[in-house]
């Protein structure tokens, strides 16, 4: 099986990031070349975290002293099994297990992670010299969004803890975020990000069909298609361009060929808003609305989103479904989110 492009690298600390065991000798220094690797992965938009069996205070203080603590999201420094730490980090970040690499100098730890989480790519810390040249560490492209990815996930971490601490109903919490969704046609500047979204997004993706830069550029100019991108921001900052819609616009029927959203906006209701927007457009045009859907083991949420927006199955062929919407019903935009449409 071809290894997927990696989104996250989880590092061990002792004898991996630094040379030695910190609880035995506090004067450890960074392994040769490690800082360059960490910085380069970061600029490629690959996220990084820590799974270390260690004293949290001592290890974290050392990371700060070395000036690299800021690079790591949701670090797990504790005495639990590494597989449980890896699992926890991946759940917090909310990405697929098959896009994760785990680097550790201890064969026992690599085997333990591998046996519990077979999809994770486990790498010996002794082999990191050529790491940056490996295929799976090379993203297809590096966009503005990928360069800022770590900062966006850091804001997500802040949102998440705010959400956990919030005791009122969820709608109220969402309202407190003061979200603003901007819906606009895909411009040339958006094409790389649009392609990246079709490649990276699996959970909130209606078909999983990927489109290349060239294809998207053609669709953008095609009179029979509408290509829309959505951007979200709130009081914690920008989420970036997080949603993409491809419409095939016929005389009497419009078809949603693709609807996807970054999983970072899961639980924000963006999918329902985009669908409500499309229904509104179709209604104004007086066309019938359908939607392609390809069922996978990951995109149940999208299925539910369509169904609850009033779509009905009109064709069902294996895992391929065509939904239809009679436009008799549409939800208003939610009150907790400002929606701005740019033409």
């Amino acid at each position: 099986m071809k290894q997927k492009k990696l989104k996250l690298v989880i590092w061990d600390l002792d004898n991996t990031i630094w040379n030695g065991v910190i609880l035995e000798d506090d004067s450890v220094v960074l392994q040769e070349g490690i800082l360059d690797i960490i910085r380069e992965l970061d600029s490629r938009g690959i996220l990084q975290s820590i799974s270390s069996k260690n004293d949290h205070a001592a290890a974290f203080a050392k990371l700060e002293e070395l000036g690299i603590a800021e690079y790591f999201l949701y670090p797990r420094i504790n005495w639990n099994s590494k597989s449980s730490s890896v699992k926890g980090i991946v759940e917090d970040i909310n990405i697929g297990m098959d896009t994760v690499a785990f680097i550790d100098d201890q064969p026992f730890e690599r085997e333990e992670v591998q046996s519990v989480l077979p999809e994770v790519l486990c790498i010996d810390a002794a082999d990191i010299a050529g790491l940056l040249d490996r295929e799976e560490f090379m993203p297809l492209f590096i966009t503005e969004d990928s360069k800022n990815r770590r900062h966006m996930y850091m804001s997500d971490a802040k949102r998440k803890s705010a959400e956990e601490e919030y005791e009122g109903p969820q709608e109220e919490f969402l309202a407190s975020l003061d979200m603003k969704l901007t819906i606009s046609p895909v411009t040339e500047d958006d094409l790389q990000r649009a392609e990246e979204l079709t490649v990276r997004t699996h959970q909130l993706n209606s078909t999983g069909v990927t489109y290349s830069y060239e294809e998207l550029n053609e669709l953008r100019h095609s009179p029979d298609h509408t290509l829309i991108i959505a951007e979200l921001e709130d009081i914690y900052g920008k989420y970036g361009k997080i949603g993409l819609v491809l419409l095939e616009c016929g005389e009497t029927e419009w078809k949603i060929k693709l609807l996807l959203m970054s999983c970072r906006v899961m639980s924000r209701g963006v999918g329902s808003v985009l669908i409500a927007y499309i229904i509104k457009l179709a209604k104004e045009k007086g066309v019938y609305l359908t939607a392609d859907f390809v069922q996978t083991d990951r995109n149940r949420m999208m299925h539910i989103t369509y169904k609850f927006a009033g779509f009905k199955e009109i064709e069902h062929n294996g895992n391929h479904i065509v939904f239809g919407h009679d436009l008799s019903f549409n939800q208003a935009f939610p009150t907790y989110m400002k929606v701005e449409v740019q033409q």
């Binding site: 109903p169 969820q170 709608e171 639980s267 924000r268 209701g269 999918g271 329902s272 808003v273 069922q295 149940r300 949420m301 299925h303 539910i304 989103t305 169904k307 609850f308 927006a309 009033g310 009905k312 199955e313 019903f329 939800q331 208003a332 935009f333 939610p334 009150t335």
Partner: protein, 80 residues
């Protein structure tokens, strides 16, 4: 059935705070029902009543009112 309705009403009341839901009242007509609510509703049904909501069950009509939800639960949990 009545017992299930109480559980369903209790769950829904978290979302429709200021409103006393009638058994036949259309919850979708009451305001924005987002995918977030949908997912939570489905997770609630699956966990609380130990049933599996299949894709073909995800019909609007099954979830519209407390009564419809209760009969859906009953249909899904009938022991063969």
């Amino acid at each position: 059935m009545e017992e299930n309705k109480v559980k369903i009403r209790k769950f829904l009341s978290r979302f429709f705070k200021k409103h006393e839901l009638g058994d036949d009242e259309d919850i979708f007509a009451l305001g924005f029902v987002n995918s977030l609510f949908a997912m939570q509703l489905i997770m609630f049904l699956e966990k609380e009543f130990e049933l599996a909501v299949d894709p073909q069950d995800m019909d609007f009509a099954n979830f519209k009112t407390i009564n419809l939800l209760a009969s859906f639960v009953e249909k899904k949990t009938v022991k063969v």
